[in-house]
Symmetry: C2
């Protein structure tokens, strides 16, 4: 097991990474202060890992809730199901919530914890690669709105994160790929050496080699923890973690939540952002090709869905959280391993990118 620390003063917490952690006695309990626990999971993950999780919680009064599975359920209505259950089970202000599942479960449960009785503690047990390398770390919680993704939420840090790499053995192929998209993101925005490593080791990751996965998760979490520690509430550098996400969120909202996986939309979004960076002359054509090739090798989409017009795209991106007094700002690349947040690009270049002329069709998996 490796332990990273996310350093946020009084709100610091450990991230445990390794195999067999769910069954490990004594890992969870020290992070729970009250007597009551509610494990929030979904109907896919609960049958696989709920029993194991509860076995480590014998000394507590445990309640459980299995939500429907999918991004389309990351809504205020589903959030209310968590509140209903908490109140019916008479959970008080000292209850600890445990999120057992992927990014949707983590975001929903974290937001429920941030707002139930004005705030109760929670723990993240991410069971997808995407959640282990990204969404479970850093305290971003929230739900979607029909008009925009993650538009309602809170910054609210967990007590700890437990990333048990064994849970990845049951992860569907498509979700593994979606997680790899976020892994590649770290290489692109701030860690060129890691990008090189990914080019060399992608096949190991796709084959679920345990050592390669643990290595990728640890490196991703280390990158993320470093950025979040410098900018918890995203007033600066943290925005770089949104590389590919402005395009990606537009795809998710435009297609309807759940149609593409979040990581898939981000993968296409990263290709679009790289394409725009190349049009601005910030990265070379060779770099763009390297990026698109790696993403395509991970069996991820490298272009936006054909059904989304450039006009609709612009409309959807206008509600992005990085918009400032009407001006769209995007995370773009100055190089592989160096991202910047900028509103300083000609609109026509963006339109060109959205027409996707720059993305080679043969790069599709």
């Amino acid at each position: 097991m490796q332990t990273l620390k996310l350093d946020l003063g009084a709100r610091s917490y450990p991230i445990y990474i390794g195999g067999g952690l769910l069954g490990r006695a004594g890992l969870l309990a020290p992070h729970i202060r009250g007597k009551q626990v509610m494990v929030v999971s979904n109907v896919t993950v609960a049958p696989l890992y709920l029993d194991q999780t509860l076995a480590a919680l014998k000394e507590f009064e445990c309640h459980t809730l299995a939500l429907p599975d999918g991004e389309q359920y990351k809504t205020l209505d589903t959030l209310n199901l968590i509140f209903d259950t908490l109140l019916r089970k008479r959970c008080d202000r000292h209850v600890t919530l445990i999120a057992l599942g992927g990014g949707v479960i983590g975001d929903l449960t974290g937001f429920a914890a941030a707002t139930y009785q004005r705030g109760v503690p929670y723990i993240q047990i991410p069971t997808t690669l995407l959640a282990q390398v990204d969404s479970s770390v850093g305290g971003k919680t929230g739900v979607n709105h029909p008009l925009g993704k993650n538009m309602i939420g809170a910054f609210y840090q967990p007590q700890c994160v437990i990333a048990d790499t064994d849970t990845l053995s049951t992860l569907p192929e498509r979700e593994l790929g979606a997680g790899i998209a976020e892994v590649i993101k770290y290489g692109l925005i701030c860690d060129r050496e890691f990008f090189d490593w990914l080019e060399a080791n992608l096949d190991q990751l796709l084959a679920r080699n345990a050592g390669a996965l643990a290595c990728a998760i640890e490196r991703s979490c280390r990158n993320k923890a470093g950025i979040v520690a410098r900018d918890e509430r995203e007033s600066g550098v943290r925005a770089l973690l949104n590389f590919g996400h402005t395009f990606g969120h537009a795809i998710e909202t435009g297609l309807g939540y759940g149609e593409w996986l979040h990581g898939e939309a981000v993968a296409a979004g990263m290709c679009l952002a790289a394409d725009l960076s190349r049009r601005l002359g910030w990265i070379s054509d060779a770099d763009l090709q390297r990026i698109v090739r790696l993403i395509a090798r991970a069996r991820l989409p490298v272009a936006a869905p054909a059904t989304l017009s450039a006009e609709r795209f612009m409309e959807l991106m206008a509600v992005d959280k990085k918009v400032r007094t009407g001006k769209l700002r995007l995370v773009l690349l100055k190089a592989i391993g160096e991202a910047v947040l900028t509103g300083d690009f000609p609109a026509d270049k963006l339109i060109e990118t959205l027409h996707q002329s720059g993305i080679p069709a043969h790069a599709h998996a």
Copy 2:
């Protein structure tokens, strides 16, 4: 105009109290950082004070929203109306929300601000006595759940509070009384001298004497600011501000939100809490009579509604936020001007109080 400061380090803010503040140029603008503003009000208050408020905001891009009026609308559904409007108007992360109205508008708008795009700034302009002396100060925001009052929310501080006493001229009689209930609360929990003053000046308050009202508001806010500064997130002394509220919330939830005004339910709740304190021998019968008499003079209820059985009461109180590992804790009086939070009372005394045998029927207004 008087200016109090709520001292919370980086989250400190001023509370302005006085007449003619809504029309005062330059009071609002320095507390707004971006270009966009959304004023959230209700259908009762907007026709009275929205124009005046907007006149002070000419330099900003202003949007407005008038919600339905009443405690029964303090729900997740109404909150979503605010999000809908913010997104339709393309309000970004730099929008400032302004709550123009009573406690419901302040709680809803504050919670929307706490969670829209994970947090935007907001300003409180309370237009009821209750909101001016209590709910607008201290950063408690949230909505009700069918199973419990204020069960969903956040601690989230405004940029400033503007209490224009002129707005009280249009306040319905019943709401004036409801505000006086919270004013009396401060005397009871921590300010015996203020309680004495209220006994002497209640008729002036009921007659809406401007000087008396300003004095009561200033003294109430000063008491509240002092307590909140010591305990922002209610891990200790702040709970004393909930005197009468555990009983009161049970009344509100039990009758259905909006049936009794919040202040009316708190008034009855304070009488019940005082009655229990007397049964425990903590205050004298004479003190109980003084309390009940002052509350009755303010034309407020001094007993729970007859339709609420003691059993139902106990059930409703079991979800109170101060419950800890199943044990109900109440704010009770050691003296007029001295409250304590305690779980240390025999259940049968509480049952006796709930049967209301101790509350003299003749005290009813």
